[in-house]
Amino acid sequence: MTTYDSVLHPPAIIAELKKNNITHVVWLPDSETNFMYQLLNDEDSLDLVPVCREGETMAIAAGLWVGGKKPVVLIQNTGIFESGDSIRGLGLDINQPLVMLIGYRGWTRRGPTPDSAARFIEPILHTWGINCYLIETDDDADRISIACEEAERTQKPVGVLVGTEFGV
């Protein structure tokens, strides 16, 4: 029987962001992503940009990218639904190579989930033609690099679904 006792620690994510020369993390502070706040705040090479609604993250990232920076956004899957029009118009249509770190609320590998936010997120991303990667443990964190490379190569947004409990 396979057991999954590994967890994802914020430093593994921060290390990936630094490795890929990410300059800004545009995010909506919430309970799903607050595990990273202190470390992000302490990291000199990364600037945090807080927003009031998730749809703004795509637009702020677009402005940062046009201005020569390399942002990522960090929001929950529910925020992706809220951001739909911005992902279309300011991600896909302007060819923004944006990596979206998406908190996978409701994710479970133990069968069907009752959470519609989890059930809909992958089909929605696929409908937009947005590829996505799942990370659950520190061993998966290097998929952020794969996503960054793919975003640059395709000049399109790429999703990274963060589907795990977090270690501290």
Binding site: P50, R53, E56, A59, I60, A62, V66, G67, G68, G89
Partner: protein, 189 residues
């Protein structure tokens, strides 16, 4: 009231090498007068996101002025952007709102009750450092000199009148224009 194209001309005169993010009817006016299209970000789509795009640009280019040319009808659909800008407080950002007395940007249909909404008070409460309101062309032209020197984020309401025949949107596609601005900035322009 200030003819909208005249307002755009006054801003263009004071612009120097500022980056300009414009949207909706303000973009139609700006497209007629801008002499630095390689520094203009157009929003012919996702028109409510001009303030957020301007915030990103101002954080990426802190040494450069960033002007957002917004409209009353677009700002009302993303009021949260005022608080988001107030939290980041970019000193180089000037957020103009063309307040359209003729409602031509909504095809002549007034947004019921919009006159009850005081955008300048909201911006002040959200943390903008200074707000201005201009209702005649001379005041605007003279006042812009101070606006451009003021540490931001600055919020400027411009009461405008529009010609009955609206100017067209730019022929340049959004993606094409954004790529041009990015290339200009990466080349140090």
């Amino acid at each position: 009231m200030i003819p909208s194209k005249e307002a755009a001309r006054a801003i263009s005169f004071h612009r120097q090498d500022a980056l300009v993010v414009s949207t909706s009817a303000a973009l139609r006016d700006w497209n007629q007068v801008s002499e630095r299209r390689e520094l203009d970000i157009d929003l012919t789509d996702c028109m409510d996101r001009a303030p957020a795009v301007g915030l990103g640009l101002s954080l990426a280019q802190p040494e450069r002025k960033v002007l957002v040319l917004d409209c009353d009808a677009t700002l009302r659909t993303d009021l949260g952007s005022l608080a988001t800008i107030g939290e980041s407080r970019p000193e180089n950002l000037v957020h103009f709102v063309f307040d359209d007395a003729t409602h031509l940007s909504t095809d002549g249909i007034p947004v019921e009750g919009l006159d009850n909404v005081n955008f300048a008070s909201m911006a002040e409460g959200a943390g903008y450092s200074r707000t201005y309101r201009f209702e005649n062309p001379e005041e605007l032209f003279i006042g812009l000199e101070e606006v451009m020197k003021e540490p931001g984020p600055v919020f400027v309401v411009v009461k405008v009148l529009r010609d009955e025949e609206m100017a067209p949107f730019p022929e340049r596609q959004m993606a094409e224009g954004w790529a041009e601005v990015r290339e200009t900035l990466l080349a140090g322009g």
